[in-house]
């Protein structure tokens, strides 16, 4: 496609850079390719505790497939006392986050699925209710325009998705300033740091420092 603001090659490049840093800090992101084609996506599995108030994170499980094991890729970095306090009325939820490229919108899209440890999946209502308080107002303005269930474009399975139609708008605004001062920005890092927290995915600050170190 001509006149690509953020083409697929760009997407793959920034994901590769992002994953490089993820491997350095043991953050668990991997690149997966679809069979028989060059399409690929970034993914990460994470466990979170929901104790009726704000979910707290257990961190990333050791990734079996990382090519570059680091010292951090050992046990779940859990603070035992934290777990004891919230264990009473809490449940552990497994989240799988996937970052794919949308040819139609020419932006990345965040897909995810969530299930309890017994395999029972969370419902759309569970997901909407789990959205952090500071994003709740925006969600309630139009939940059906924000987070819905859709078919994963590569796996063909049901996933939840954060709708991408407004992505171009806010990313243009985000990228304007650094571009003016000729500063390197990893599109994926910036984008994911905005979208991720809405659905419980937080990025360690070191990602931002990693990008500026490339200058």
């Amino acid at each position: 496609m001509e006149d690509e603001f953020f083409g697929e090659k760009c997407f793959q490049y920034y994901c590769a850079e992002f994953i490089k840093h993820s491997q350095q800090i043991g953050d668990g992101w991997e690149w997966k390719t679809a069979k028989d084609c060059s399409d690929g996506y970034m993914c990460k599995t994470e466990f979170q505790i929901k104790n009726g108030t704000t979910p707290s994170h257990l961190g990333t499980p050791a990734s079996v497939h990382t090519g570059f094991p680091t010292e951090e890729n050992l046990e779940l970095p859990v603070d035992d006392s934290e777990v004891m306090e919230s264990a009473a009325a809490s449940k552990v939820i497994k989240y799988e986050y996937h970052v794919l490229y949308s040819c139609s919108y020419q932006v990345p899209v965040l897909y995810f699925r969530a299930s309890f440890l017994d395999g029972k999946p969370l419902s759309l209502t569970d997901i909407w209710e789990g959205v952090h308080e500071c994003y709740k107002t925006r969600l309630l303005q139009g939940p059906w325009d924000t987070i819905t269930q859709q078919e994963h474009p590569i796996l063909g399975q049901p996933f939840f998705v954060l709708h991408p139609c407004k992505t171009n708008e806010f990313m243009t605004a985000v990228l304007k300033h650094p571009q003016k001062i000729n500063r390197n920005v990893n599109y994926i890092t910036s984008w994911l740091s905005i979208m991720g927290p809405v659905v419980g995915l937080n990025l360690p600050l070191s990602y931002a420092k990693a990008t500026s170190q490339d200058e």
Partner: protein, 238 residues
């Protein structure tokens, strides 16, 4: 577009005679007779089967009823695919009526999207329309429409109102006279797994909305057993 009105109407009013039967392992309190219905090709299963649901629920106990889902010869039917697409993909070589099995238990979480309400169908439909316009007009036409226009598109589909639907959809099918067409033509190609692979020349791939130049297709490939969604009003450019 006006000279295509007959074709558009034929596509819109296409129907598939269907026979719904309750899954044999469902526990029934009374006999559940099969239910016959003409399904609109351009619509979605969960949108047009309220009567089917009511009919079979009468035969079941309240506690045995959860989310309805449909299956054809062991394959769970994805309600988010247009009905005509499902039929063409799975059952077109079988004799009519199309025999669909109705389930109220053991929802296949790994295969099917949930459909908690009509809002889910509307959200999916509108999301498809928006994605199509992203390709056709960089989303300009659909974003400039008011909420009531979006609602009219949806209500037109939901209530089977051709004129109501096309009053708005025609704006999505227009392009400035100085340009020769849309920026990109949105279409989806669905292949049944296990069939021989279609050969795709260099500029085509099985993705939504790739640039398609007619001259790149060898003549034999101009007819594809593909489902070009009539809801989007796409004609195969032959």
């Amino acid at each position: 577009m006006t000279d295509d009105k007959d074709v558009l109407r034929d596509v819109w009013f296409g129907r598939i005679p269907t026979c719904f039967t309750l899954y044999q392992d469902e526990i029934t309190e009374r006999e559940a007779e099969p239910y016959y219905l003409l399904l609109p090709r351009v619509s979605y299963l969960t949108l047009v089967t309220d009567k089917v649901k009511k009919h079979f629920q009468k035969a079941l106990r309240q506690e045995d009823v959860s989310e309805i889902w449909f299956e054809y010869e062991g394959t769970p039917l994805k309600w988010h695919y247009p009905i005509g697409l499902l039929f063409d993909l799975l059952a077109s070589s079988s004799a009519l009526p199309w025999n669909i099995t109705v389930h109220f238990k053991s929802f296949p979480e790994k295969d099917l999207l949930h459909c908690p309400s009509k809002d889910a169908v509307e959200a999916h439909f509108m999301s498809c329309m928006k994605e199509a316009d992203a390709l056709k007009h960089k989303s300009q036409v659909i974003n400039e429409m008011q909420k009531k226009d979006h609602k009219q598109l949806w209500m037109g589909l939901q209530n089977d109102r051709f004129d109501q639907f096309w009053a708005i959809n025609r704006k999505l099918m227009e392009y400035p006279p100085e340009e020769n067409g849309f920026r990109y033509i949105p279409f989806r190609i669905y292949q049944k797994l296990g069939l021989s692979t279609l050969y795709y020349p260099g500029t085509m791939q099985t993705k939504v909305g790739l640039e398609l130049r007619e001259r790149d297709l060898p003549a034999s490939e101009r007819y594809l057993p593909a489902y070009a969604s009539p809801v989007l009003g796409i004609k195969w450019p032959v």
